[in-house]
Amino acid sequence: MRRSIYLSIIGVTAMLGGIAAPAMAADCATAQFSDAVLARFPNIRAVCTEVIEKDGQQYAVVKGDLVRTGTNAVYMKFKLADGTKSDTRKIETRPEFRVKVDGKPVSVRNLAVGQELTAYVKVSDPVIALEPAEPADTLAAYPIQDAGPAVAANTAEMPRTAGPMPTVLSLGGLLLAFAGVLTFLRVRRES
């Protein structure tokens, strides 16, 4: 009798543990990020909003603002829990890859600065992927790049913002005034 009670308690505990296990997995604080991930993304816990499972792997979900777009990459700043933003991070992708923006699918080539994007960081490996437009779509994960500002070299020249039209008008006005003076002198002489 006592033995069956013990077995029942063990069974119930195991069952509850089984239910609770996935809930434990979906926690940014307790997720077992690999050393490689923590080395590449030290503040991953601060920017992580939740942990999900996809294709049998755990991913930390991170959200942020798009600050720059490139041919095969986007640059994002992730939101920290205290409301500030992380350093800029480059995420490689493909121009035709479709992500979800405001609930609508948008290809990467049509993304614009200021849009909010979601990315997944694999808990076990230092790779990051943009959230696909459809949940069934395959993730396209790329190695996590070092954080840092992305600034292009200054090749711009100061534009010429002085049009010729004021000069044209001034010259035209002067010529008309000169002609008017000649007319005045001629009429006075003839009269």
């Binding site: 600065v113 992305a150 020249e157 913002t161 006005g173 010529l175």
Partner: protein, 244 residues
Amino acid sequence: MPHQYSTEAFHGSDQGPIHKLRRGFHSRGVSHGIHLPSGGRHAYTRVLRWTEIGAYIAGALLCSLFALAQADSALGSTNAIEEFAASLTPPDQSLWAAGRVRDYQAAQKSPMQAVAVLTIPSLKLEVPVFDTDDELSLNRGAGLVAGMGTPDSGGNVGIAGHRDGFFRALKDIKVGDVIEIRTRLNLHRYRVTTIDIVDKDDKRLLADTELPAVTLVTCYPFYFVGNAPQRYLVAATYVWPSDS
């Protein structure tokens, strides 16, 4: 007619009959500068008359050219804004082939098609933004400065405009004013942080920035005939939708 001067022309003159007939020029210019014979006076009057007519024609042409440019500026700007507004509802390209999408996007970038519309509510300024800052574009609106960012791709976006045209209104802009740039992909908002007057060759403020920003460029002083020696730069930083 030739018989009228045929005898006089060869008497003591090596300058021919025509010179004799146009004696007024000779008398006025060489021998008798003070006295103007009636023939010389007539020629002088004729020159003045032609000068007068020429000045009227040239003056009217130049003023007409200015008026045409103004009309082109007003009509071109209005048309560009209307065309841009019509293009804000692009077709669904999700099922298109990549090549077809590229062709469509190339067609959208025709030289006189506005790529954005810049609005400064505090100045009641609305101006189309073209892909380049050439003379025709700046006559009809503002233009993106080559070598700088674009509103959708980020970085420091340079937008140039004529100080005697659309960007004259910038003389009244203030720090804190909002600048809006509507592209086909998004509405971008910026807040003015600095207003600078720099030498026309000083391009330091055109340098790229890590975060999205916009720099409006026009000539300075605002009222100046010819090539102005300075540039008036309005810098604004991005207002994140998620922060507001």
